[in-house]
Amino acid sequence: MHVVRGIRGTLQPFWVTLRNMFRKPVTVQYPEEKQQLPERYRARLILTRDPDGAERCVACHLCSAACPVDCISMQAVEAEDGRRYAAWFRINFTRCIFCGLCTEACPTLAIQVTADFELAGRDLLKLVYEKEDLLVDHCGTNSNYNFYRQSGIGVSAPRGRNPGEAPPADVKDLMP
């Protein structure tokens, strides 16, 4: 019995390799053929806009705090109505490890990942993306989320008093 199993175990691999030799290789020949990436693939980061076309980012620094390699930096400023935004926003893609923790930390869904992974280049400084490189003209995922619409700005004027703002929800009203 041992001998039979031994012989079969010796010969079987030859049949397997021979059969596989005539199958089509699974390799995707990259520069010519592109792989179909999953929808939620994590690669280049973008800064999205809210449905009104304004920047979503409120320069809260949560993404740069969450970033394990410290590749995000920004300068927060306030507009006249007290709305915060980033004066400059910089992501160093030579450092970025594409972990996506920044997108999970972002309270306004401003920073998001895309599936565009072709970032390679010879000049490292070209991989330091400024705000205008990062900012896109669409909402990314969650196309109807608007942070300030929900929360109000509430710095110089009380919440809900700014032009175009609905009064905030009275939470006590919602009690049963």
């Binding site: 010796t10 691999p13 030859f14 397997v16 390799t17 596989n20 030799m21 199958r23 290789p25 699974v26």
Partner: protein, 330 residues
């Protein structure tokens, strides 16, 4: 005077041709191996350099030649530099006695298609091919690295355990051909190759040849997984390349030895003798590659067991049986 000049010129041309053909075959065997292994593992293998990756050997040579020729600190420098050459040169030397075609008439001269037809060809083959292990051992010893040393030691003890059966498995061939000359051995197989007359000797010889070529399943001196690279861990650039090419030259040479001893050499129907020889050698090489794709590496003690407890008694018994049968037939 002019006749001896022609003889000399013919010998020089023959040597040059054999050298070129073997090196060419070794280079493209590397490519063939990578291609076939790739396809067997559902990959393409090298296909970027030239059409179907056919320029890959050239690219490899350029890469190896332009790399740093590094000698590790406190290595035995001269042995370290010498060892790769031993492997490649001994492999080439073995081919000196391998006949690859019948005698031909060129410019009114009888030219045997073999570099030199020694009447003790088999002994020469065994002697020189066992020198090849010095490349492995000295390379491993001189590197001043534990992995290299282990690889070298393994190479040595592996050689001890299979070389005996390698020689003994050839004894029936010599008994049947009644000659030590490789040309006579091929001539004796005109009607029937020794593979069919004595399959046991072929089996033992084939396994020993696999071990001799230091390839899977007997690549214990290299053993990438546990010894990094074994005896060539510390080698870089063209010295590593020499070890590498030596292995493939060895493949071609051992393939031709297998062809000469058991597959009937250049004998075969319809096709010209040289074509038959080439086909048989390439078939053996393809078999080597196929085995590499299909088999795992033997463990150290398994190799010893196989060599001493199975192959050696088997080949001894085979000599007895062959002798008895030859006596019985007269």
């Amino acid at each position: 005077m002019s006749e001896s000049l022609v003889t000399l010129a013919l010998i020089a041309v023959k040597l040059g041709l054999i050298f070129a053909v073997i090196l060419f075959m070794a280079a493209y065997l590397v490519l063939a191996e990578r291609k076939i292994l790739g396809r067997m593992q559902l990959r393409y293998g090298p296909n970027r350099t030239g059409p179907f990756g056919l320029m890959q050997p050239l690219a490899d040579v350029i890469k190896l030649l332009t790399k740093e020729d590094f000698v590790p600190a406190r290595a035995d420098k001269w042995l370290f530099l010498l060892a790769p050459g031993i492997t490649a040169v001994t492999a080439l030397l073995v081919f000196a006695v391998v006949p690859f075609g019948p005698t031909r008439e060129i410019f009114g001269q009888q030219v045997p298609l073999v570099v030199v037809d020694l009447n003790i060809g088999v002994l020469y083959v065994l002697g020189v091919s066992s020198m090849a292990v010095y490349g492995v051992v000295l390379g491993g010893w001189a590197s001043n690295s534990k992995y290299s040393l282990l690889g070298g030691v393994r190479g040595l003890s592996q050689m001890i355990s299979y070389e005996l059966s390698l020689g003994l498995s050839l004894v029936p061939v010599i008994m049947m051909a009644r000659s030590f000359s490789l040309t006579d051995i091929v001539m004796a197989q005109q009607n029937l190759p020794f593979l069919l007359l004595n399959p046991v000797a072929f089996g033992v010889f084939f396994i020993c040849v696999l071990a001799e070529s230091n390839r899977i399943p007997f690549d214990l001196p290299e053993a990438e997984n546990e010894l990094v690279g074994g005896f060539h861990t510390e080698y870089s650039g063209m010295r590593f390349g020499l070890f590498f090419v030596g292995e493939y030259i060895n493949m071609v040479v051992l393939g031709s030895l297998l062809t000469v001893f058991f597959l009937g050499g250049w004998h075969g129907p319809w096709l010209p003798p040289l074509a038959w020889f080439l086909i048989k050698v390439l078939a053996v090489c393809a078999m080597f590659i196929w085995i590499r794709a299909s088999m795992p590496r033997l463990r150290y003690d398994q190799l010893m067991n196989l060599g001493w407890k199975i192959l050696l008694p088997l080949s001894l018994l085979n000599i007895l049986v062959t002798g008895a049968v030859l006596l019985g037939w007269g």
